[in-house]
């Protein structure tokens, strides 16, 4: 009966979490309102850009890809870690994932929703974005399927759809719990519709678990392929600093690193706001920090390999590009990247630092800034110094670009908080399974 008592407590906790009470509700809706105001202002700035053209964004020869593409790659990176972590930890039966999986998956969805805006924002004529979609037309004009940009659109679209399916599937038993416990008629109807008739039969659980495992396997492969394809946007071009076979693993590691940092940035204040401190403990943060440290070392290794091939290779243009990064106009950004992504995370070797939420929050925030700067540096410095000196130039983001980038952060946080505030932030059924597993472990030890 101990397991059943724990089940009952988990249900009661989760149902209580869904009923926002003062002052939590005031803080929650105020934050949402503020974020909505911020991204609305950015939307107005974007309308200004559409009206006056991309020149107001500082995008001109030779740097035609600037802040928007760097921010797009950054958000795609953030999106990768959430679902990947949830799927990989499920495949390896890392049961501690239960407490953070839902938040990580929700982060992925909000991040893809943000990333998908940037290719459109980057277009001078955004109303022609649908040209990326293969559709029958009178001129038989098909898109070029050999272009990495088309692979990109397809890969990210696929990733978004599968991430949403994975997230929704995981929610079905939890929606059934919310349907059956507490709330008014509207809530009962909405959760009843979302639960799709779930009753909890043994056969349903079998289908649920098998399908979840299939999707987890698909996602584990998909994540690696999607960010590799994003990296090929750059590496298939013969631009010094981009044309490298290292880019795919380097981008995947960077994506996971920045995503884990974002999970920490969301979890540490979020567990207070959502009242899930009992479920998301310092032990969970410690494990995420360990993963982050490992990926920081992988990234540092990638930086080293990139430098080694640049300086030991025969291509003088690549050599010159990396000298420019280290000593040229963008050199401060290069060294800040190294400091943020390779040096500061070394603090996480200390167990005390990993168990201190304030330190973790600081390191994670620095890592996120470092990863954005890294993307900016890859995109901009390579274009600013290509082959011939007559085509060199410099680029600095304008206020328009900064306003849109800041608006994207507000957009991301808005959707993340809106979604996570209306679903169980900690999986109900999976927590119950965890109780069963721990109970049987204790029995076998006894």
């Amino acid at each position: 009966m101990r397991a059943e008592a724990a089940f009952h407590r988990i249900t009661a906790d989760s149902v209580a979490m869904e009923r926002w009470t003062l002052p939590g509700a005031v803080v929650y809706w105020s934050v949402l309102g503020m974020l909505a105001g911020m991204w609305s202002l950015s939307a107005a700035v974007w309308v200004y850009q559409v009206y006056h053209g991309l020149a107001v964004a500082g995008l001109t020869h030779p740097v035609m890809w600037g802040t928007y593409i760097a921010t797009f790659v950054f958000w795609i990176g953030i999106a990768h870690s959430g679902t990947l972590m949830s799927a990989i930890l499920f495949i390896f039966r890392a049961h501690w994932r239960a407490s953070i999986a839902r938040i990580a998956e929700t982060m992925t969805i909000a991040a893809i929703m943000t990333a998908l805006l940037f290719p459109i924002i980057h277009l001078g004529r955004p109303w022609r974005a649908y040209w990326l979609i293969p559709y029958p037309n009178q001129r038989h004009l098909w898109i070029n399927f050999s272009s990495p940009l088309i692979w990109d659109a397809l890969a990210i679209g696929t990733y978004f759809i599968i991430s949403v399916l994975f997230w929704l599937l995981h929610l079905i038993p939890d929606f059934a719990t919310l349907r059956d416990h507490g709330g008014g008629a509207l809530r009962h109807r909405v959760f009843g519709w979302l639960a799709m008739g779930w009753t909890g039969t043994a056969h349903e659980w079998r289908w649920f678990r098998n399908t979840y495992a299939v999707l987890a396997g698909i996602i584990a492969v998909l994540v690696v392929s999607v960010h590799s394809i994003v990296s090929w946007d750059f590496s298939v071009a013969i631009v010094p600093g981009w044309h490298s076979t290292l880019f795919a693993p380097y981008f995947v590691a960077g994506a996971m690193f920045s995503g884990l940092a974002m999970i920490l940035v969301l979890l540490i204040p979020g567990r207070e706001l959502l009242g899930i401190q009992r479920h998301v403990t310092d032990r969970h943060l410690d494990r995420v920090a360990q993963l982050m440290l490992t990926l920081s070392l992988v990234i540092t290794y990638s930086y080293g390999v990139e430098m080694f091939f640049a300086f030991r290779g025969a291509d003088q243009y690549v050599h010159r590009q990396f000298l420019y990064r280290m000593n040229g106009g963008y050199a401060p950004l290069f060294w800040i990247t190294i400091a943020c992504n390779s040096i500061v995370p070394l603090v996480l070797f200390s167990g005390r630092a990993r168990r201190n939420p304030s330190v973790l929050l600081g390191v994670a925030a620095i890592a996120i800034i470092g990863m954005w700067i890294e993307r900016f540096l890859i995109v901009v410095s390579s274009l600013a110094r290509e082959y011939d000196s007559y085509s060199w130039g410099t680029y600095r983001p304008t206020y328009i670009e900064w306003a849109i980038v800041i608006g994207s952060i507000a957009w991301f946080l808005f959707w993340f908080l809106l979604i996570v505030g209306h679903i169980p932030p900690v999986p109900i059924a999976e927590r119950k399974e965890e109780v069963l597993r721990m109970g049987s472990q204790q029995e076998s030890q006894a």
């Binding site: 059943e4 293969p134 696929t158 759809i161 059934a176 079998r206």
Partner: protein
């Protein structure tokens, strides 16, 4: 045949009742549990689902479609090249094929899940479905239940047996 739903407060009682039902040769329709529980699933004898196989079929269809659709579009511009390279370029189409394979596998898997769970609920029959709906608020909290089919003359005997194993309620339809 009569459908009977016995509700239990503990999982151990449910496992004992499943064993008892098997001994009495009662037809177990399904068990209801608040979370995925391998032991209960094995006791009931739930077969492995077809999710993986259907996802594989989806992957093959998606992969082929992703390969053939770009090739078909290229056929419409036979003389066009990109920087001297033919538009019909299988290595680049393989990337598209790979992504569509994964997309269709996931969609097929989810479709199979929706149909499979719907069919498993229908398996309980109209009476069983009514019983499942009546008990679902208990199940999604902490209780578990066993749904059986038995001849109406054996219903009392079965109910008595389940109550002896700790059933808190026995509904018969």
């Amino acid at each position: 045949m009569t459908r009977m739903l016995a509700v239990f407060e503990s999982r151990d009682a449910l496992l004992a009742a499943i064993a008892s039902a098997k001994r009495q040769h009662l037809a177990i329709v399904t068990a209801l549990v608040p979370t995925h529980d391998d032991e209960v699933l094995a006791a009931v004898g739930v077969p492995v689902s077809w999710a993986g196989r259907i996802a594989c079929v989806g992957a093959i269809i998606g992969g082929l479609a992703g390969l053939l659709f770009p090739a078909w579009t290229v056929e419409q511009w036979p003389h066009v090249t990109v920087s001297g390279k033919p538009l019909l370029s299988w290595p680049t189409f393989l990337i598209i094929s790979f992504e569509t394979a994964l997309l269709c596998a996931a969609l097929a898997g989810i479709g199979a899940f929706l149909i499979g769970t719907w069919r498993s609920r229908r398996m309980a029959g109209p009476e069983g479905t009514a019983l499942l709906h009546a008990a679902r608020s208990l199940i999604s909290d902490a209780s578990s239940a066993l749904l059986i089919a038995c001849p109406s003359d054996r219903a009392h005997e079965a109910a008595a047996s389940f109550e002896a194993h700790g059933a808190i309620k026995c509904h018969v339809l």
